[in-house]
């Protein structure tokens, strides 16, 4: 017996409407981005890429895009570099305060981003780090650490240790074992954690809004500032570019890890 689908027609209609609800706003952004008019409208008289070309005349968006990329690269790398030893400690040792330390590293998930924003704003300005790259990276690291740690920890916990023991018994030093055996084995989890951390940093708006300065504006912050002044086809085309890039990344991630596994972290 081969059953493709156990859902009745009513359930399929529900599913269709649900998907429509989820995708409509994103589809509309992409459609409006291709308008040939000078104002917001659907491209009814023909498609045009004029608003995509227009992005290039607005260096503030291009600069913000690159700043976001540098920021996410730096923060995700630092977060993963901190997460690997922390995950090794949690997965392999029993020590007083283990659960507490883990809860501490996961706590940024429970703190509203606006609260982190106000805390970092006064802290960075008292340190004299406002709007500096290093200041923004430090704040983003705290914010994205839970995402990196969750996936790295899952891969360290799930790792088969017999290969490590074999390497050790064959005379490999601790460091060599870690570098040539452990790291390759946990690499999928580390990569997944890094990518998720990168995306979270790249997308973050609320907290960054408080700590960004005109010279360190990320793309979401730049877009927010633009939208609060005016909503035009330009902002739609910038958004469409983000949607296209995210879609490509998503399909790759789904092929490698499975999107639900990546987001649940198991």
């Amino acid at each position: 017996m081969k059953r493709y689908d156990k859902n009745g027609p009513l359930a399929l209609v529900f599913n269709f409407v649900f998907l429509l609800f989820i995708l409509a706003p994103l589809v509309v952004v992409c459609l409006v981005a291709f308008t040939d008019k000078g104002y917001l409208s659907l491209p009814r008289d023909g498609l045009s890429v004029r608003w995509f070309v227009a992005i290039l005349d607005h260096p503030e968006f291009v600069d913000a895009f690159w700043y976001s990329i540098y920021l996410a690269l730096g923060s995700a790398t630092v977060a993963v570099a901190l997460a690997i030893p922390a995950a090794m400690a949690t997965a392999r040792y029993k020590f007083p305060g283990r659960g507490l330390i883990m809860a501490f590293f996961m706590s940024p998930l429970m703190i509203p981003h606006v609260v982190l924003g106000v805390a970092f704003l006064s802290y960075l300005s008292s340190l004299g780090w406002s709007g500096t790259y290093i200041g923004l990276v430090a704040c983003h690291v705290v914010l994205i650490m839970p995402y990196a740690l969750r996936l790295v920890l899952a891969s360290v916990t799930g790792m088969d240790r017999s290969a490590e023991l074999a390497a050790k018994s064959l005379g490999a030093s601790k460091w060599t074992t870690f570098r040539r055996v452990t790291i390759p084995l946990i690499l999928p989890g580390v990569t997944g954690g890094w990518v998720l951390a990168f995306i979270t940093s790249f997308d973050e708006l609320t907290m960054t809004l408080f700590i960004a300065s005109p010279s360190s504006t990320t793309l979401p912050v730049r877009m927010y500032q633009h939208i609060t002044e005016t909503i035009d086809p330009l902002i739609a085309s910038v958004s469409a570019v983000i949607i296209f890039i995210t879609m490509i990344m998503m399909i790759i991630l789904d092929r490698i890890f499975g999107l639900d596994k990546l987001l649940v972290g198991k």
Partner: protein, 284 residues
């Protein structure tokens, strides 16, 4: 060498960063919330409960907190209402369709909330797509005013957050044994009864966990209420933002942030305790 040293050394770098970049700023914000502020002298280093009293006594802030938590309850309820059935439908789909639908539902989580909110602004704006279509087919003549209403904020937040609900229920459903459902059906229970008395009790922990995430994220949402609610429909997060970056009354903004944080933590903790107590059997 002490046997206990390695785990602390391994945790060390992350612990240092977290103490310097999380504990210190949070404590400083907490202290700042007790300082006072005046428009000429700026922040004064004195201590008192006046900022908290102002928030507790001023009806302006009552309205903001009531609106925020009202929106949070509505969004949570709607997410459970549409997210849980969707997860159930997904679990009964063929594998190919399911992974395609999951990709479409979870994918938007990776797209910045600002893009998703912009989508709603383009849909429901005065010369947005919905009005364009409704006028085009002659149902209405003047555009409906949907931007800057509480309803639009709720709908957009449901859109932004419902993937978390689907994900949460979906994870619970995967642990379910389909044979139990088949047993109920073969013993003569109607489909509806099976859903209500067999499936629903077992996915409730997933629904509750999802509700928790959605509630906490809605209560602290900033971008969506700020863009779709406009300046008049203030919520707690946008109020804290205004106090900090427009009025420059940092102590008052800090006290609003502290209240928001404490409210969130209390809700999450008590909810967790309730769920663990009530569904202890399911988690074991």
């Amino acid at each position: 060498m002490n046997r206990l040293l390695p785990p602390y050394l391994l945790n060390g770098p992350a612990l240092i960063i977290f103490v310097v970049m999380l504990v210190v700023p949070m404590v400083m914000t907490f202290i700042l919330s007790f300082n006072s502020f005046d428009f000429y002298g700026g922040i004064k280093p004195d201590y008192g409960w006046h900022n908290y009293l102002e928030v507790v006594q001023d009806s302006y802030f009552h309205e903001i907190f009531l609106r925020t938590y009202g929106i949070a309850i509505a969004v949570t309820f709607l997410c459970a209402l549409i997210g849980a059935p969707e997860a159930y439908i997904l679990s009964r789909m063929s594998k190919t369709w399911r992974s395609l639908c999951l990709l479409a539902i979870l994918g938007p989580l990776l797209i910045s909330v600002i893009v998703r909110t912009l989508g709603w602004a383009l849909l429901i704006g005065n010369n947005g797509v919905v009005n364009e279509i409704l006028i085009g087919i002659g149902i209405i003549e003047t555009p409906l005013k949907m931007m800057f209403t509480t309803g639009s904020v709720i709908v957009a937040l449901v859109h932004v957050l419902v993937p978390f609900m689907v994900l949460s229920v979906w994870t619970t459903l995967q642990k379910l044994d389909p044979q139990v459902e088949n047993a109920a059906l073969s013993l003569g229970a109607s489909h509806f009864t099976t859903l209500r008395r067999v499936v629903l009790p077992q996915v409730m922990p997933g629904v509750l966990a999802g509700s928790l995430i959605v509630f906490a994220l809605t209560a602290s949402a900033f971008a969506t209420p700020s863009i779709l609610g406009g300046r008049r429909l203030k919520v707690v997060a946008t109020t804290a933002y205004d106090e900090y970056l427009n009025t420059l009354n940092w102590p008052l903004g800090a006290s609003i942030a502290v209240i928001l944080l404490i409210a969130n933590v209390v809700v999450v903790m008590s909810y967790n305790r309730y769920v663990e107590k009530k569904y202890a059997a399911v988690f074991d």
